[in-house]
């Protein structure tokens, strides 16, 4: 069935180092991919989503590239900031209104 697998658990990084959070998916159909971010005591909100063409979505310094050959949509940022500390969810939608979310990866950025 449809599923999303993310980097497990907690990722701790020193400020200024690059960020990479992994996301792979399993789906019968060609899905749209999303990254949502949830800061402490806030609601999840969209960080970025895949396009139908080959454009690479970017937002707040984060970017992700959809690789259909490897079923991946990894989230990257060149330099982590303290304010990036949050819970990150990868999700996809196959066009039938139903979204499938991964278990989430908690990113902690330290000084």
């Amino acid at each position: 069935g449809d599923s999303v697998t993310q980097t497990e658990g907690l990722v701790t990084l020193t400020e200024g180092l690059p960020v990479m959070l992994n996301c792979t998916y399993q789906s019968t159909y060609s899905p749209f991919l999303f990254w949502y971010v949830q800061h402490l005591n806030e609601a999840p909100k969209l960080l970025l989503k895949s396009f139908t063409d080959n454009k690479r979505p970017e937002h707040q310094g984060f970017h992700a590239t959809l690789h259909k050959s490897s079923s991946s949509f990894h989230l990257q940022k060149s330099s982590a900031q303290l304010s990036d500390s949050a819970l990150y969810y990868c999700a996809f939608n196959t066009g039938n209104y139903k979204y499938v979310f991964g278990a989430g990866t908690r990113l902690k950025v330290i000084a």
């Binding site: 658990g9 609601a43 999840p44 909100k45 969209l46 939608n93 209104y97 979310f101 989430g104």
Partner: protein
């Protein structure tokens, strides 16, 4: 812009009790969702409603009922609260498939 409101913010119940959570959105979105958030398990879909008067079961619908009273509101009922249950319930809405979901702040449930 718009906003999603969830009530109550905190809900403490007793084992076996029927508990109702409410969600309102003013985006004028057709589709609304209820998710359960547990640490390490991500967001699991309980129920969703594509349009007013529609109800669809998600992967975690057992033990829950839902009601789409009108386009702007979507309620979730825990039919029999389980002892020591603790979770956050998130409501979301979107204008259609593949569109951004907007989430509410959540209702935190604790069952004693």
């Amino acid at each position: 812009g718009g906003i999603i409101t969830q009530t109550p913010k905190f809900l403490i119940g007793q084992e076996g009790q029927k508990l109702t959570l409410k969600c309102q959105q003013n985006f004028n979105h057709d589709t609304m969702y209820w998710y359960r958030q547990d640490s390490g398990k991500g967001l699991r879909l309980i129920y969703y409603s594509i349009t007013e008067n529609d109800l669809q079961k998600g992967d975690l619908s057992e033990g829950y009922d839902a009601s789409r009273e009108k386009k702007s509101s979507f309620s979730l009922t825990v039919t029999s609260a389980q002892k020591n249950e603790m979770a956050v319930f998130l409501c979301a809405s979107s204008s259609g498939p593949q569109d951004t979901q907007y989430f509410g702040p959540g209702t935190r449930l604790l069952v004693l």
